[in-house]
Amino acid sequence: MMRNHIIEVKGVCKTYESAGAESCEALKDVNLEFPRGKLTSLLGPSGCGKTTLLKIIAGLVPLTRGEVRIEGKKVEGPGPERSFVFQDFALLPWANTLRNVAFGLELRRTPKNDRYKIAKKYIAQVGLAGFERSYPDELSGGMRQRVGLARALAVNSEILLMDEPFGSVDEQTRRKLQEDLLELLKVEKKTVIFVTHSIEEAAYMSDRIVLLTPRPGTVMKVYEPKVLHRSDDPEAARRSEAYLDCVDQLWDILKQYVH
């Protein structure tokens, strides 16, 4: 029987110990569930541990206490059902787009022709057809992140973990990427956890928003904005009452943490 919540986070705590200096409690007693097929945002001010939580779910960072379960199975490290999109793109500078996108498959020892065929498909899907042979330093920030996204999609995992993926690009590119991602997710149907510090982005993109408190991070509130027609008419969606109300409410809560 398929569970409704594909990811469960139970009592997760993360403390960074450092010899000599004080230990830093990044996350405290986080309890969350992520529904299948939905885009959930982790939103909060800087230092609230949202990236740490994402990387714990990804299996890249060990937790101090608690557990994370995916489809009922405990997370011990990275796995094929999860893929990651990094804030700083993390592309291999010495590889062209085709090799970068196929990298996840290369690590799984997929035969060369097969993985390049798959990579070409996703390169086209993210709108980079024709740039297969370009190297990262020949691409703009937005294009590099599309490569990162294509790489994460190419391994065909159920869960997409995105760490402020559009944080390093300008506003126009960011909006375009947001709209393109939503278009893509209509086709690809994944469970997405999306870390952001932008209220507008969270309100526009999410099916659910998890608000985290500043350090030590814990769940403050879980929101479900009802922003309709996001992908049909992005301009209208960004002016709709549901969207604007959501932004206001989020700001009301978060501004008490701004000094």
Binding site: L60, P78, S83, F84, L92, K112, Y116, R133
Partner: protein, 273 residues
């Protein structure tokens, strides 16, 4: 518009970088010539005498023969230093344990006056080929190790985490991410090693037992033939500068090829190589 005019015509050669380099060399040679002819110290020969000596020694085979003699322990020592140095440097970068045990040793070795180590080498290895090869090895290796180690340590953590996220095991992380990312610094370390190797071999030939170029320098100094002595030293400066520049060119082509070269063929298999 007036700028355009001054940049053209007669004054254009002045902006060429080669012109300025040649001009500076000519200036140095001119000063040298004057110092040699009218200077206070008779031990400094004029540029013209030195140049003549250099030409003569090249033509009559003295210099080429000495170079072949010197090059043998230099080449062997350098190849050994490169192999051991890069291998060990990478290991140090990958293993905290190895780093903890050995880092201080190599840092200390790199800053120590290596000329003081030469008598020790003579004590252990004697006066022959092995001793000179070891002198090259001991001088070149610490720098190669430290630079290779730095190259590995400085790899962007994000890249390694990315490969872990996509399920790379440790060998895959090392071969597909860490070593390619570190390779620029590793190739640069070879250039450093070459410079240190030249120092090593000359020190060895001057301090251990005279052969090759060291023999020439010692001999000409002993008989007071300063033009030929300086000619030998100058040839060394030229050769080491040229070989290090060549290595720099290889370095640039290599790092350029990894990121810039566009493959000619159209088919899929070649696209990502």
């Amino acid at each position: 518009m007036s700028l355009q005019r001054t940049n053209g015509g007669l004054l254009r050669p002045l902006s060429s970088p080669y012109f300025l380099r040649i001009l500076s060399l000519v200036a140095v040679f001119a000063v040298w010539e004057l110092m040699g002819r009218f200077g206070p110290n008779m031990a400094i020969p004029p540029f013209s005498a030195t140049a003549r000596g250099l030409f003569v020694m090249l033509v009559n085979g003295t210099l080429p023969k000495a170079y072949i003699e010197t090059l043998k322990p230099l080449a062997v020592g350098l190849i050994l230093a490169a192999t051991v140095g890069i291998g060990f440097g990478i290991t140090m970068g990958l293993s905290r344990t190895v780093e903890w045990f050995t880092l201080m040793t190599f840092v200390a070795l790199q800053v120590s006056p290596m000329a003081a180590v030469i008598p020790l080498i003579t004590f252990v290895y004697g006066l022959g080929f092995t001793a000179k090869m070891m002198a090259v090895f001991v001088l070149a290796t610490p720098g190669i190790i430290l630079n290779s180690y730095q190259g590995v340590r400085n790899v962007n953590v994000s890249l390694i985490q990315m490969s872990q996220a996509f399920l790379a095991n440790r060998p895959q992380q090392i071969i597909k991410v860490i070593i390619p990312a570190a390779s620029n610094m590793i190739v640069a370390s070879l250039r450093m090693g070459l410079g240190a190797a030249f120092v090593g071999i000359i020190l060895a030939e001057l301090l251990i037992a005279p052969t090759g170029l060291g023999d020439l320098i010692t001999y000409y100094q002993a008989i007071g033939d300063y033009p030929n002595m300086y000619a030998t030293i100058c040839s060394l400066v030229i050769i080491s500068a040229v070989s290090i520049s060549l290595l720099k060119w290889v370095e640039n082509t290599y790092s350029g090829a990894r990121g810039r070269k566009k493959p000619e063929k159209q088919d899929m298999g070649d696209l990502a190589e």
